[in-house]
Symmetry: C2
Amino acid sequence: MNLILFSPAEISRPLPRSDRRAIHLVDVLRRGPGETFDAAMINGPRGKATVRSITPEAIQLDFAWGPAPSPAPELTLLIGLPRPQTARDILRDATTLGATALHFMLTEKGDPNYAQSRLWSTGEWERQLLLGAEQAFDSRIPAVVRGATLSETLAVVCATKSSEPRIALDNYEAACPLSTLALDPGSPVILAFGAERGWSATERLQLREHGFAFAHLGERVLRTETAILAAMVLVQAKRGLM
Amino acid sequence: MNLILFSPAEISRPLPRSDRRAIHLVDVLRRGPGETFDAAMINGPRGKATVRSITPEAIQLDFAWGPAPSPAPELTLLIGLPRPQTARDILRDATTLGATALHFMLTEKGDPNYAQSRLWSTGEWERQLLLGAEQAFDSRIPAVVRGATLSETLAVVCATKSSEPRIALDNYEAACPLSTLALDPGSPVILAFGAERGWSATERLQLREHGFAFAHLGERVLRTETAILAAMVLVQAKRGLM
């Protein structure tokens, strides 16, 4: 936890001593009254927090904020709903690498039962976003949408934007390596990943109709979470952000 | 498990029914007598295995091998010994991405107690290599060395090779993004990563003396395992392998 994130509502009230951030502050960072640490408001400014007091019940904090962050370069990921352990890693690591929107979709070759996981029914999915942002030292967390089909997602995501590069990863049928595609620095990008067993023929057609180019990540077969990280790294490097 | 790996000694004897590969074959892939699956000899040829018989104690297999694999393009990683959970992920994922040698080193800012983990005292570290290679559909697993200091490692690794690019990742002091370095396709590469808290001043000097260039991965702060994956992806893409 390089940066500790707070929601706007939390700024004006004491932090419960049982909160994971309070435990980290006192037990790991060993901050006492008068000492400071790096803090940020979720999707807002970074700054310094000072511990005013620590009681067995709560920590009182004072904040001094810097300027608001600039908008992040858009990187939208469309992902066939993966198994919960994989989704957990993606939520955290895609946030660390700067995703601005994550759409977890129901796809033809995916397993809709994964949507029943405790990852989604408890607040765990949101906690992973915070962990990923805190790691990256960034206050910005991606918007998360889940439960829509690919065609519903495409209708929404592709209706409001028209010119950004759209790339679908496809290790079975793509002819072109993602690493050879050109991207403008700062350009918004949409990346689409199928579920573990890939895209159906119908889905490939839908993606093509919505202007997606198909690309692959080489001959080695990667786990879903590794493929997503790898594709994001290549895109961020091409855009001059890594 | 896209490919099931066997050591040369295992080829000629029955596979115990309790072995993780036997369990996968029967309970997940549901292969019965006469059916085949993709197999490979560790660091040797890939081929097809056919189930001859299944008893409660063992599975008898017949193998038909293809040609021996070509040598992998060398990618040597020097890594400050990380905490065991991180090392586990690195062993698996660096293998998947095509590392040919992994040196887990004792560094000044590292914690030598991590070497006492069950990851290293049991065969668990080796199992992670196999999982990574099976995922990648590759029979080749990296050589693993651990317990040497940085200077001992540099003396060995840099004594036998002289012309390959050597890059040390350093998020604190490097001026150049890794993504902007040029690499020849197929060129061997050595990448060095400090422990979680980075390199000491002495270590930076040693790396410089051994011809290492310093590079960073952008402004976002990455977990050690994510930084290693990201650097490997950029190197493999530059070498035309991704």
